[in-house]
């Protein structure tokens, strides 16, 4: 009898208690779930709206859109070649300048500088990332472009421009406004992103490994090239790809200094355009469905490129995280 009473009493108490926390929990869990799913919906919405907006242009030009060098609003003939070319070349220049500098900064912060200087230096480099794109743009237009026009471009034309074949990269008059200036600004802008990822992954190297190398008489250079870099290779590449993703999609700073010309010009001293600069310049003034749809198609191409680059970056950094976790 007493045993029966207990068996009844326990479930009843449980039934009474569960709703008190249960509904609250269910509601809160549901709420957080909804907003987490919202993040996915935003990405889904971006893809759907881009595809929908790009359809008229893609239907009209099909795959020829990517290799068509024309951009003519009067005849409604549009192609993505010049913007894609400009996007890739400016990002390439940004990487060529940005990667070695970022590596140097990360090396200095993790291996060379005195401890007290580490935090302020890290903060200053991160402030470089906090300055908005538009500020780099106005600075690039009024300060950097004239400087490059006056000093750097004449020097390039006079030296590298004279090499047969290769010189075509530096042909034409020094304008200041052009692909080179845009790439240079991008390099400064992605520098803090790459440098801070590199610094973070360099710090994951177990001190024991580095100390062992120093202990057998290795120099700082040797420790970095033989121990730190092999250990963090994936993370370094991940950081570089993260910077590349930023450079590809950067808009305002590039719009100010690239010159916005829809021509594929082999010389990096001449004006060009990028996908994001074309969008920023022309979208609100695009008259006609095909014109606007072509611009959205450009946006779609940019989205696909950056998505692939960023996803690769993320996967690489995740892999490093996992292997570092396994080692520890």
């Amino acid at each position: 009898m007493a045993a029966e009473m207990e068996m009844v009493a326990i479930p009843r108490a449980a039934v009474q208690r569960r709703p008190a926390g249960g509904t609250g929990d269910a509601i809160f869990h549901g709420l957080t779930l909804i907003f987490a799913v919202l993040v996915l919906l935003i990405l889904g919405g971006v893809i759907v709206s881009l595809v929908y907006g790009a359809l008229p242009a893609l239907r009209k030009f099909s795959f020829g859109f990517i290799v068509n060098g024309a951009w003519n609003p009067v005849t409604d003939n549009f192609g993505a070649l010049a913007p894609i070319y400009g996007t890739l070349v400016t990002s390439l220049i940004a990487m060529l300048i940005g990667i070695p500098v970022a590596f140097g900064v990360a090396l200095f912060i993790t291996e060379l500088c005195p401890k007290w200087l580490r935090r302020p230096l890290g903060t200053m480099i991160e402030l470089l990332a906090a300055i908005p794109s538009i500020i780099y743009g106005i600075w690039g237009l009024f300060v950097l472009a004239p400087f490059i026009q006056q000093y750097i471009e004449p020097a390039l034309i006079g030296s590298l421009g004279k090499i047969p074949g290769f010189g075509i990269l530096f042909a034409g008059p020094p304008l200041g406004i052009g692909v080179l200036t845009a790439g240079f600004i991008l390099a400064i802008m992605v520098l803090p992103f790459i440098a801070s990822v590199m610094r973070d992954v360099f710090e994951t190297v177990p001190p024991m490994l580095k100390e062992s190398a120093y202990g057998i008489g290795a120099t700082t250079t040797e420790v970095v090239t033989r121990v730190v870099l092999p250990y963090t290779r994936i993370g370094v590449v991940g950081g570089i790809l993260l910077g590349l993703g930023r450079a590809l999609g950067e808009t305002m700073a590039v719009t100010f200094v690239i010159g916005n010309s829809h021509h594929v010009n082999p010389s990096i001293l001449q004006p060009g355009t990028t996908i994001s600069a074309a969008l920023a310049n022309e979208f609100t003034e695009a008259v006609g469905d095909i014109y606007q749809s072509s611009l959205i198609a450009l946006g779609f191409i940019l989205f696909i490129i950056t998505f692939i680059v960023l996803a690769a970056a993320k996967l690489m950094l995740l892999r490093l995280q996992k292997s570092a976790g396994a080692a520890a």
């Binding site: 709420l31 957080t32 779930l33 230096l121 600075w139 250079t221 920023a280 960023l310």
Partner: protein
């Protein structure tokens, strides 16, 4: 001995280059900020805060753009903060080891670095086209979408720093999970979460590209969120690219205002973070 000298010289070269790279980075920080101060301070004046953007060739200020930027950033923060915090809570508290959690985290990190101009295109097609006109609401939503991934990321990171023993202690006292999250873990992580919100506000207050197709710009004073609204970044863009000297001066003044505000937010957020670190 020769080998030793060669290695040492090689090392000096690398160390020197590394030093030069750091100096190069800092040089540009000083260079950009110096130019802003030089060109911006001369343009500061009382009319900046009392008059709206002028037609070319006459005196004016930036009050309509300052108001628009503050108002849209505020609305974006009101939308983005709760959304980001709840999604971040899901990742930190409910999604351990779940497939959905991993996917959301991955997508969120991609949105974090996705080109902001694409977000502008998205909001243009889902808000501006159906409404039939540019509006400050669309601008606010675009900014909120850029803000959300930043808040999600920092909220998750900060909640993960809260020691599990706190949660276990509350569970042992019989508190339901939602109450543990709201009264225990949020309270332990609140400074870090606020730091994240501040950094996100700093990020969106300089964003230009997403506003170009959404809020557009407005030459006149307007507080109507259903109409285009002036905002500092787009005004800077238009005025700096114009051939008029007085417009360019105003662009420098606006650039200085934005940068000072953003640097304050950033330094404030860092101060906040280190202060909360001290408390632990």
């Amino acid at each position: 001995m020769q080998l030793y000298t060669r290695r040492r010289i090689g090392n000096y070269v690398v160390v020197g280059l590394s030093l030069a790279a750091t100096a190069f980075g800092l040089l540009f920080l000083v260079f950009v900020l110096g130019t802003l101060l030089k060109n911006g301070i001369g343009a500061l004046g009382p009319t900046l805060f009392t008059q709206a953007t002028p037609p070319p060739g006459s005196q004016g200020g930036l009050i309509n753009a300052i108001f628009g930027s503050v108002a849209m950033t505020l609305i974006a923060t009101l939308i983005g903060t709760p959304t980001g915090i709840l999604a971040g809570t899901f990742l930190a508290e409910y999604a351990h080891g779940s497939r959905l959690g991993e996917i959301v985290r991955f997508i969120n990190d991609i949105l974090l670095s996705a080109p902001s101009i694409i977000i502008g295109l998205f909001v243009y097609s889902v808000l501006v086209v159906p409404m039939g006109h540019f509006s400050a609401w669309a601008g606010s939503v675009a900014l909120a979408i850029i803000m959300i991934p930043v808040v999600v990321r920092t909220t998750e990171d900060m909640l993960n720093l809260v020691p599990n023993s706190l949660r276990e202690a509350a569970t042992a006292l019989g508190a339901p999970k939602w109450k543990i999250v709201v009264t225990v873990t949020y309270r332990a992580a609140v400074q870090g979460m606020l730091t994240g919100v501040l950094l996100a506000v700093a990020r969106i207050s300089g964003e230009t590209a997403p506003l170009l197709f959404t809020a557009l710009n407005n030459q006149f004073w307007s507080a109507d969120f259903n109409r285009p609204m002036a905002n500092l970044p787009v005004v800077i863009f238009q005025f700096a690219m114009s051939p008029y000297a007085d417009w360019q001066t105003l662009a420098w003044a606006g650039a200085l205002l934005i940068t000072v505000a953003i640097l304050f937010l950033n330094v404030g957020a860092r101060f906040f973070a280190s202060w909360s670190g001290l408390q632990k």
